[in-house]
């Protein structure tokens, strides 16, 4: 991709996104937020930030879920604005970003259909970033066969479904396996797309996507140890990219305990301290796998770190992906703070990941 023409088609949006980025909450904001005694205080604190009076319509008492919902709404508004102004390959890039959420939504509908629920009720549970115009059409399906066909016809996810699943699989496999199979296909496809865009987008995105893939691989390994998931099935869920691919993945596919996972991770300097360091868990002594419990936190920190790096480069699309990720982390942080305040667990307030 030529930097010379970038500003002509996407310069405006990059400007916007960097503006949005400046609106992310900083450590200073978080510090003052942790001083809040009640959710009302928190709402007041937030009105001094980019969020403004986003909770103005919420009738007291404010539920903690309201923070998450309204904050997500804001992210969605921003994203939709970007999407509607984007053209050409950026538009496609942004579409790709939504596929991940779309997978979750379709999985939700599949779950509903499998259990013969009224899937229309599920529409409001879907992640707003993953909605698509034809989604209500999927609700018409009354059995899995129909749903499978509608997914193929109506959604951009068709290649992933066609590539790795049959209608029968939807019926038989564990829903989590389906989800992870799709996600794996999606990650690989997204990566291919980014590579096709050329440098610098491909450079930035490959960092982010590699980590995303490694993170999934590690998570799946750690979470499937000791469950009914067979090792062949496990290996099939690993995305074929990332820094652990291919040797690391092979070892992980056969790993039986955390120590084997650790030895694999030792080979990647950046990942080395994932399995060590602090964990703030309540049950750290009576669970043997306490080393793995801090893992998620390390992942979040590393993700934020990588996504921050994306902003160091200009003339590339990575910033868009990164912004959405960072914003999501911010929403999680907000929800966490709200939960801590609501449930009187102030000592856990520090567990959030500060972004800037």
């Amino acid at each position: 991709m030529e930097a010379i023409g970038f500003n002509a088609h996407s310069g405006f949006l990059e400007g916007i996104i960097r503006g949005y980025k400046a609106g992310l909450l900083t450590t200073q904001h978080y510090n003052s937020m942790t001083q809040c005694e009640t959710l009302e205080d928190l709402k007041l604190q937030l009105s001094g930030t980019d969020y403004g009076n986003f909770l103005a319509d919420e009738a007291p008492p404010i539920a903690t879920s309201a923070f998450a919902e309204r904050a997500t709404d804001k992210l969605v508004d921003e994203f939709n604005y970007l999407r509607s102004n984007a053209t050409g390959s950026l538009a496609k890039f942004l579409d790709y970003m939504t596929y991940g959420y779309m997978i979750d939504n379709v999985i939700l509908l599949v779950t509903g259909t499998l259990h013969e629920r009224d899937t229309h009720e599920l529409l409001e549970r879907c992640h707003p970033l993953g909605t698509f115009d034809t989604m209500p059409a999927l609700c018409v399906a009354t059995n899995v066969e129909e749903l499978y066909n509608s997914v193929l016809v109506e959604t951009p996810l068709a290649p992933y479904f066609r590539g790795c699943l049959s209608a029968q699989d939807l019926d038989e496999l564990n829903i989590e396996i389906i989800r992870n199979t799709l996600y794996k296909a999606y990650l690989e496809d997204f990566n291919d797309f980014c590579q096709s865009l050329g440098s610098p987008t491909s450079d930035v995105m490959s960092l982010i996507l590699s980590f995303e893939a490694d993170r999934r691989t590690l998570n799946i390994t750690v979470n499937s140890i000791g469950t009914g998931l067979s090792k062949e099935q496990r290996a099939k869920l690993f995305p074929k990219l990332g820094r652990l691919y291919p040797e690391g993945n092979n070892i992980l596919a056969r790993a039986d305990d955390i120590d084997q996972v650790k030895s694999v991770v030792e080979n990647i300097p950046e990942y080395r301290d994932f399995f060590s360091g602090p964990n703030h868990d309540l049950s750290e002594d009576d669970n043997g796998n306490s080393a793995a419990e801090g893992l998620e936190e390390h992942f979040f920190r590393h993700e934020v770190y990588l996504n921050k790096l994306a902003f160091m480069q200009q003339f590339q699309y990575g910033v868009f992906a990164s912004y959405v990720r960072l914003k999501e982390q911010e929403v999680r942080n907000l929800t966490w703070i709200a939960e801590c305040i609501a449930q009187n667990a102030r000592d856990r307030l520090g567990d959030i990941v500060h972004i800037f």
Partner: protein, 116 residues
């Protein structure tokens, strides 16, 4: 009273409570497709709760019925009216509503007996 057939824990609660107890493994769907839990949100009517409460208290396979206290408040006369030993009706707090001992139907009986 064939108490040995009573093996399940039924729950009437908000979504978070239900998710939690289901994670613990109490959820059960019997042959007739009947669940042993009811999720109550702002749209659930009192009559739905009442009929679920009556169903769970009359079912022969339920040993314990957990109910969020703020939901029990909505059908208080029914809860207070349940004095049988089986199933045991237990009022539990929810995430958003802390436990208030003065509203609990059993603790009310305790207080009545000791006269304070």
């Amino acid at each position: 009273m064939a108490s040995k057939d009573r093996v399940f824990i039924a729950t009437i609660g908000d979504e978070d409570t239900i998710t939690g107890v289901l994670l613990a493994g109490t959820g059960h769907i019997n042959d007739k497709g009947k669940k042993n839990f009811l999720i109550v949100d702002s749209k659930t009517t009192s009559s739905t709760i009442e009929s679920a409460f009556e169903e769970y208290t009359s079912r022969e396979d339920i040993a314990i019925l957990l109910i969020n206290q703020h939901i029990a408040e909505q059908i208080r006369p029914l809860v207070d009216g349940h004095t049988a030993a089986f199933p045991a009706v237990l009022e539990i707090p929810s995430k958003t509503h802390a436990f208030d001992p003065s509203k609990d139907s059993v603790l009310k009986r305790v207080r009545k007996i000791f006269g304070d």
